[in-house]
Subunit: 412 residues, 2 copies
């Protein structure tokens, strides 16, 4: 029975995490939030107090922390007596926060794969490049480390595990489709940090097909699906964390990730990328100033957290799964639809942050209850999906299924 | 009879000017070229020597000069005994170079209106904002100052003057159409300094219609014309220097300028402009670095002078003129077609630089001969057009006309 949560990061996802933790602080205990800029953490604390999100009276405090500093992170874990660390900071700090958890015995959760700031779009095997190198150490020390427990990766991995266990005798294809049919009303903006956002699309696209890695260029392969609620949308094959772990853990021969993009997004992206403005390599101006173009693009784009108040529309993210059941071909779509304005109403963030921030809090509740306190490193598809998806239903991200029997909620 | 030419600037247009001056150094005398970076000037000198462009043996020298420094410019004019100064440097130095000419008695020529670095797209009356304030001083001192003697402004002003004097009883409309139907083979590039190039299109578009100034947004008003040699092209109403001077000097009620743009150019421009990346106002990156976005865009774009070797295709620039002749409506198109590859072959520059650089040398020859040594400030339409256009025919930019009698060369 672990308790007391330390949240690392103070962006849009952290805002959701702190509100959701507050709503469950009777189980989770004390809540602490830390990032380099303590003022940002304090704003999240203030936001929780304004909305009255704390279920019961309890500690809720902001801290300054450089999460690349393992000793400082260990000290904060110890000082706050946190047994669960939810890392929703920059993807660059994963390995140092994980190390601090290993050395203090705290459970570790994150929502995205580790990245090295100097390397864009590393080649698969992604988890094996960094996190999985700590698997044995976690097991030897009885450390619970749950990797990639946002929505995608995260919930979509649980959908895949559920499909494999309950809906098929054998699965041939997992196609994860992520559509944001919402609108922020700006000329152009990214839904999270542009530096991280664009990195997903500036390199080679890797997918798992016929049980091997296949490479394509970005925007080279697309599909159009008529999806529940949001209707017909075109999505493009993209590399994504869960393609690696699902292909390894579920032994499915075809695992692909598809991200929806409008033509306008693709056009702006293509212009910026073609001109070299998304480069992380510095250029020198005529005046002799050395500048990284991507950092200038980030400076002129809207702050992603500023989008939330005016965001309208819905997201639809799910797994289209094909295989055999009782000798027959079968195809099902397990999915969630989230609403931007409802997310803002509840926790002050837009829907993209909401879908990424609710799942790690559900996982923290399952660690607190012991159900997911597995005392080893695990990707989500290695954990029992039903208790998690049951919590998702209760916490604002209900699961639905569309199959030969129609479209309906999935209850557990 | 003036002689000895000082060329200020060392870009693509200066390259054309120095080659053309060299081809006529029997008349023009000594040739000196000056810019902030003496190495660039020396490259142009070397290029003239490599091509053997000097008609007769004579002085040809490179100099370092900050043309904003009036005293230094006066000293260089005196030292080189230059009686003609061709200013093809940055548009920011016009007023200081003009002042140096006024104080030394040298004739002054430029190809574009003065600009203040801190002010984008000033409102009309453009020439009256800066240059025309020196009209009386030039006349009192007997200074010949010919403004805007490139192609547009410049040759197109002479076309307009010719039409008014020889082809119409009254002119109602002058529409100057500038089409570059060439291709540089790059994803995107500007034909001259991006900082100056984009400034033409980021502000309000001013035109002279029904004898008053009318404002529009960029890309708001367009036309499509089937033009000689280059075929059908769409052009967009743009503010331009000569709209001001022609409207004042020729008393024509409608004067408009139209610049051809492909859809790709407009798309890239629109993306960059909408995101704020063409701004001259500094932004601050997340790391605290203060940067002017436009200077970063300039740094990632190809150097305009690098385009010349691979530039293919032609330009078509001319005046579509409407009015009355002998009581009948009449419409004529006076124009030139230039070829990028031929320009590169002759002087090592692309066609845009060629059309801008040949006319000031023709004007210098007319000052040397006395025909245009008017000892006052003048825009091109105030000078006799025929000797100038006769020289244009001989120097590589022949004039043609398309009217009710067909399409043919114009000889003088």
């Amino acid at each position: 029975m672990k308790k007391n949560v330390l949240i690392i990061g103070a962006g849009g996802v952290a805002q959701v995490v702190v509100h959701k933790c507050a709503q469950h602080n009777d189980v989770l205990g004390n809540i602490h939030i830390a990032s380099r800029t303590v003022e940002k953490c304090q704003q999240l604390v203030d936001s929780v107090r304004e909305k009255g999100s704390l279920k019961v009276a309890g500690e809720l405090q902001a801290h300054a922390l450089d999460a690349l500093d393992v000793e400082a992170t260990k000290a904060l874990i110890a000082k706050t007596r946190s047994q669960i660390v939810i890392n929703v900071g920059s993807a660059f700090v994963n390995m140092s926060v994980l190390q601090a958890c290993i050395e203090t015995g705290a459970a570790y959760l994150d929502t995205a794969i580790h990245e090295d700031p100097s390397r864009i779009c590393e080649t698969p095997p992604w988890y094996a490049n960094y996190e999985w190198k700590r698997r044995e150490l976690c097991e030897a020390n009885g450390i619970t480390a749950i990797l990639g427990i946002g929505f995608d990766p995260g919930v979509v991995n649980a959908y895949a595990a559920l499909a494999v266990s309950d809906y098929f005798d054998s699965v041939s294809d997992i196609d994860i489709i992520d559509i944001n049919a919402g609108s922020h009303g700006k000329y152009f903006a990214t839904n999270f940090d542009p530096e991280i956002n664009f990195r997903e699309f500036t390199g080679t696209v890797w997918s798992w097909q016929n049980s091997q890695w296949v490479s394509n260029k970005m925007f080279e392969v697309k599909r159009t699906d008529d999806l529940p609620v949001v209707g017909a949308h075109t999505s493009y094959m993209t590399g994504h964390d869960e393609v690696h772990s699902l292909s390894q853990n579920l032994k499915v021969p075809n695992v692909r990730f598809w991200m929806g993009f409008g033509e306008h997004y693709i056009n702006v992206f293509t212009v910026l990328n073609s001109l070299g403005l998304l480069s992380e390599q510095p250029v020198t101006t005529a005046e002799g100033l050395e500048v990284v173009p991507l950092k200038v693009v980030k400076a002129v784009l809207p702050d992603p957290s500023s989008l939330a108040p005016d965001y309208q529309g819905k997201t639809c993210i799910g797994d289209l799964i094909k295989g055999k059941k009782d000798g027959e071909d079968r195809e099902i779509f397990i999915y969630n639809v989230a609403d931007h304005a409802e997310a803002y109403q509840e926790v002050g963030s837009q829907g993209i942050s909401y879908t990424a921030g609710v799942p790690p809090v559900a996982a923290a509740l399952l660690i607190a209850s012991g159900e997911w306190d597995v005392q080893k490193m695990a990707n989500v598809e290695e954990l029992p999906p039903k208790p998690f998806l049951k919590l998702m239903n209760e916490m604002g991200l209900p699961t639905r299924i569309r199959d030969e029997d129609g479209d309906r909620p999935l209850n557990f």
